[in-house]
Symmetry: C2
Subunit: 300 residues, 2 copies
DNA sequence: TTTCAATTTGCAACCGGTTGCAAAAATGAA
DNA sequence: TTCATTTTTGCAACCGGTTGCAAATTGAAA
């Protein structure tokens, strides 16, 4: 159906190498030849087949984009920036939606079958072992929102979650709260662990302690449920919530109980997602340097 | 680096066709042979290269997923369902983020170079001509959230937006509102036009008229801004908003003005996105039959 | 005009598979 | 055991390109 390289060669009356070369930059072709070829190509509406090309060049310009965060609105922004950034560099994201059931092995194999040039794992709730599986398959991999870890060869880009915890603590102290608490995401997530650690240690330095609790996941419902439970018991003056979507859930819980923020209870979140501005909540603003994340993907 | 078909053939001491056949279902191979091959393949950690295969089979099992809605939270759900649905069928979504600058032609060509098996355009704000460009390139295309249109060969899946408008009108009438208005999305979007048309015609049947206004886009900010302007002038008793994110923006505007919903002003939205439940707003619930949308993508 | 280096071009093999066709092996009936 | 059938296997060509190498062309210097 669609014109192939050979068709163009035939039409232009030249060898197929010549055609191939005019479409490969850096190849040696005379201007005369190039013009002849381009004319024929244009007439036939030809454009080279990427996949066939990748067979010999071993580059597909496809990047596996893996995530399990299809419910956290902040990731819509992440996807937006990623796809944009990749596109601008002539790369294409092959999207993989990781559900709880899918095992790492099969996604690794899948992406290898498509011979992607690299993989971006974007999630803070996946175990480091996951990204490692890709490295073991000799694929360049970047783990965004991950934690700097000992596993070598896995590029990790993200914010310093420990420092985030510290910032939150300092902010609450400055505002004069004396009884503060941490409401984290899933206990197993590295981001939760680190934020908690920073929060607790900074409070400790000020001679304070923090009560700790965890939500089941980074979601509105989980935040709301956790907060409602906390309110029933013995609520603190202010909470540092693991992320914004959790914060908004907590906020909803507080409102349901007839209390107000920040008059009755203080809330401090994390992520600066678009939506946070919507509700006039006072959240710490930590903007992820996504540009740089994408830049790292070019580095590999 | 990675084992190839030939390596496996050599190791198993059989022809390469034999290997190929054991990995192609429906091919004729004896059990004995299959076992021999699988053993060798297993030892070498071999799995067939999809791209090479696609060269002869002409199927890549890749689907272009095109959208320009990377700011409307409801699309996170859409992406989730799409990627899931495609994956379950052994297909992979190649994501294309359409910005205002990217022209249709180039995305068409791009996806042709990757020889995707089909294309899904998921947006209600793109002109029908866009999907048509793919059809012209002889690619199967499904346009979700589009409008049933005259352009042939473009499968369109979506809700009946006219009927949505009617439903909204009936609901508001039932609740006793006598002075209602429509706050739509971008005037050029087919979804906006249809919803308005249904809304207006149903009201007309009841002897009522509706005031009309449009927001610049389906976004929180646009909804808020529009509502604030409307409030300054002569607000209606109740509004039918083009979609949920617009509704929430409008809601925020109303609250800023010190008014309450639904006591002072009624709001009815559309989409049933996850977030809508968060704020105890009363929104019409129209769940898009996404399962069927995905089913249609298999049909092509 | 000849000579020689620098460019440009074509040949042919290869990337990693699939598949039509004919030969070989297995099966079953006589 | 023999012969006709069916099933399994291998050969070789092909999918749509790329690329090392040698031959052909070009251009400038002698």
């Amino acid at each position: 159906m669609t014109a192939t390289l050979k068709d163009v060669a035939a039409r232009a009356g030249v060898s197929s190498s010549a055609v191939s070369r005019t479409f490969t930059d850096g190849a040696s072709v005379s201007d005369k030849m190039r013009r002849k070829v381009l004319k024929a190509a244009d007439e036939l509406g030809y454009s080279p087949n990427f996949l066939a090309r990748s067979l010999t060049t071993r580059r597909t310009k496809m990047i596996g984009l893996i995530s399990n965060n299809f419910h956290n609105p902040v990731f819509l922004t992440v996807f937006d920036l990623f796809t944009r950034g990749l596109q601008d560099r002539g790369l294409r994201p092959l999207l993989v939606n990781l559900t709880d059931e899918t095992d790492p092995e099969s996604s690794v194999q899948m992406l290898r079958q498509y011979s992607v040039d690299g993989v971006v794992v974007t999630s803070s709730t996946l175990p480091p072992a996951f990204s490692k599986a890709f490295r073991d398959a000799r694929m360049p991999v970047v783990n965004t929102f991950g934690r700097y870890s000992s596993s070598p060869d896995v590029h990790v880009i993200g914010i310093d979650n420990v420092e985030c915890g510290r910032m939150a603590a300092r902010t609450l102290i400055e505002r004069g709260y004396t009884d503060v608490a941490f409401l984290g995401g899933p206990e197993s997530a590295t981001s939760t662990q680190d934020r908690m650690q920073g929060f607790v240690s900074e409070l400790g330095a000020a001679g304070m302690t923090a009560r700790i609790s965890f939500a089941d996941e980074y979601s509105f419902e989980a935040g709301r449920k956790s907060m409602l439970q906390l309110l029933k018991a013995d609520p603190a003056q202010a909470y540092f919530c693991g992320d914004d979507v959790l914060s908004i859930g907590a906020l909803s819980g507080i409102q349901d109980a007839g209390l107000k923020v920040p008059e009755d209870i203080g809330i401090i979140g994390l992520n600066d997602m678009e939506m946070s501005g919507w509700e006039n909540i006072n959240l710490t603003t930590i903007r992820q340097p996504i540009r740089q994340i994408v830049q790292a993907s070019i580095e590999m």
